[in-house]
């Protein structure tokens, strides 16, 4: 029950992200998703080993606090904190997100999964989150939104990992998290440098660099 509820909240949070144009809101929702993931991790485990608790703590810390903090810092120097002319506006994005979520629910119902209803909901949420992250990647211009998009992709994969939660070794999950932190860290720095060099973080301007 708790698991389903958390998954539902995650799905809804996707819509909020899609509906927004505000970079600060993206970061807030990304942090929220981080906390939700940590809670989800806690909820799916039947036996609370010390390493599960450690994993929950690290997830909450990294996704709910460190990464948002890094992103906020990247945002601090910037004058414009809104997506001004996205390739796909908020309304259209919400519609596409709805289609994607519906499609995810449809597909997950058809998948040959080992167990229960909860499993198919996990898959649906995972696919929907991946889809939403991808939507963010392709429909927005700001470099920071790209980072948020990648974060969404990763969150989706993380949710997918819940399926195999009993067997997934600690090492794999922690390595994934470490990857993510390093990746975001580097991108944060890159964004700042782009900002300094080109006085804009609009990725469409980067196409001037081609050839």
């Amino acid at each position: 029950m708790t698991v389903s509820l958390l998954l539902a909240v995650l799905m809804i949070s996707n819509f909020f992200v899609a509906a927004s144009n505000d970079l600060r809101k993206y970061i807030q929702f990304s942090a929220l998703q981080g906390w939700l993931l940590a809670a989800l991790l806690l909820a799916v485990h039947h036996h609370l080993h010390w390493y599960v608790l450690a994993m929950v703590a690290i997830t909450a810390l990294v996704k709910g606090w460190v990464i948002p903090r890094l992103l906020r810092r990247a945002l601090d120097g910037q004058s414009v904190t809104r997506e001004r002319s996205p390739y796909l506006g908020p309304t259209a994005s919400v519609l596409v997100c709805a289609v994607g979520t519906g499609f995810s629910l449809l597909v997950s119902g058809m998948m040959p999964l080992p167990n229960s209803h909860a499993a198919s909901l996990i898959v649906a949420t995972a696919l929907a989150t991946v889809f939403n992250g991808f939507l963010l990647l392709v429909s927005r211009r700001k470099a920071l939104t790209q980072v948020i998009g990648y974060l969404g992709l990763e969150n989706g994969i993380f949710i997918f990992g819940m399926l195999v939660v009993e067997d997934a070794p600690l090492l794999v999950e922690s390595a994934m998290l470490l990857d993510l932190v390093v990746g975001i860290f580097v991108m944060g720095i890159v964004i700042n440098h782009i900002q300094n060099a080109f006085s804009s973080t609009d990725t469409s301007r980067l196409s001037n660099l081609k050839e």
């Binding site: 390739y87 990647l137 196409s207 660099l209 081609k210």
Partner: protein
Amino acid sequence: MAPVIEGCLWAALLGAALSGVPGYWDRRRGALLGPLILSLSAASALVAAALVWGSGAPVALALPIAGAGFLRCDGLSAWFLVPVFLLPALSAWYGKAYWDEDHHPESARRVRLWLGILAASMALIVLAHHAVVFLTGWELAALASWFLLNGDESSEEARRAGWLYLAAAHVGTLALMAGFCVLGGGGAGLGFDAYPARWADSAVAFPAFCLLALAFGIKAGAIPGHIWLPSAHAAAPSHISAVMSGIVIKMGIYGFFRMIQWAPHPPLWWSGVFLALGSLSGIWGVALALGQHDLKRLLAYHSVENIGIILLGIAVAAAGLSLGRPALVALGLAGGLLHTWNHGLFKSLLFLAAGAVIRATGTREMDRLGGVGRLMPVTGFLFALGAAAICGLPPLNGFASEILVYLGAFKGLADWPWAGAVVASLALIGALALACFTKVVGTVFLGNPRVASPHIAGEAPRTMRWPMAALAGFCLAIGLAPSLVVPLLKASMGAFAPGFDAAHGLASWSGFPMMSLLYAVLLAVLLPLLWLLARTRRRAEVTWDCGYAQPSARVQYTAVSYADGLVRNLRWFLWPERSKPKVEGIFPASSRGVVRVTDLVMERGLAPIANGVLWITHRLRFLQPGRIQLYLIYMAATLIFTLFWASSHG
């Protein structure tokens, strides 16, 4: 004996690879040390080859860490090892004066270094007993040739030729990799030991044959894979052209021989493919050579022609294997192998002599040369000797190897349906080659100088002359006494043991001592006559005065006009571009006539295709606007498509 052979081979490999290194510390001494070390490596390789032939058994070379099974020297390797080291060593001596430190301070060291590496990498190819080692040597040789080709880095022509060469070489390498993968499938691995069993499987043999034939054909310069060859050989420094034409392209031929060895029972259509490649390369190559005005480009097309002759020999051997006729196998293989050596010898000689002419006159245009033989008698004589050899005239070495292929084809007339085509092609090639080389020798060395050349020097320096003389000596020796190389041939063909008995096909070789005897008698009669002729007084006159009152040197037959009759006869497949000069009235105005023979495969085949591809890609530029977002969508679409495709097929 094996440790001695192993030691000699390692010494040769390492010596050659490092021969150019001392020059980077000491220019003056490096210029001497480079050729010297390369010659010592060559001597060491010759000893190893002789020992391998003597023992009759292949010798495995152990690698320091990887162990045995990667390098092996059998009779066939030994046969190719000889020119692999000999020709670069002689060219290096020649290059000491031809590409010296004073005139080429930037590149002399680099050319020496890569020449040594080229020799070592080719040795790696012929010693390889594992696909990875083979590919390593293959790639290294291609890169070394590219660096050598660009010896003169200021030459735009060399750069363009280099790009074409590099592209063609990599197409070949790609095909080779794919071919080895096909052969290595089914758990066979990449060692050559497993290949004979794989070739027996026809589902493997067909794709493997196509891929390897493509790779080896491009490297050997067999038409239509020859597109890179003329420009590369023309643009390279002459002693590098000599090595490239003499032995680098023979690596493709080596590959064909290995294929024959791996597949002891090939289907009959193999011999058809070899025959088609061989006669096409031979006839078209020499016909294109007839139309060339550039001395080195002409020689390059003759390489295509001679590759054709070698391929005809391989065709005879393949037919013998398919039909179970040991005599054909023996004669075809022996002819092909011997012609590989012979072409290496006389083509290197010709390129070196051409280099000496170019160095003295500063031009490769035959129609700007003329009368060079009087200023450079030694070079002229050696070039004429090489020319006679390449035309397959007795008593020189070209005749000795071509007669073997002829004999093989004649023996095959009974049951090989295409044997007649081999004979006809060989005869046509020989006749056209003779026409072509009378043109070269006539325009370049005989007659009078056409253009007052500002800086024509005298005879080439001694360091350039003696490598040419050595090559000419080998041509004469093999030509006069071909029986000398018969034991070596037999030992090399021992590598092909499982398919047939080499001794069976030897009957026709008893003709070689008879040939030598005949030559001896003829020379005994002719030489005194020649000596008498040389003593008679000679007058210097204009060669062609054609009854004109005031003939000038321009009245002489040019290379173009000499070949024009033949080119016109062959126009149905040469498609020459010609514009006639206008001659009207009693005092015609000045006018120009042009005959240009272009390479159809390149100009009408590949170039339009390449332009078409470029046109299409220009039209498709809109797909690449430089937006990350769009690229992500492409990737996702590809992923989804792949998933659907996989699920619908799985």
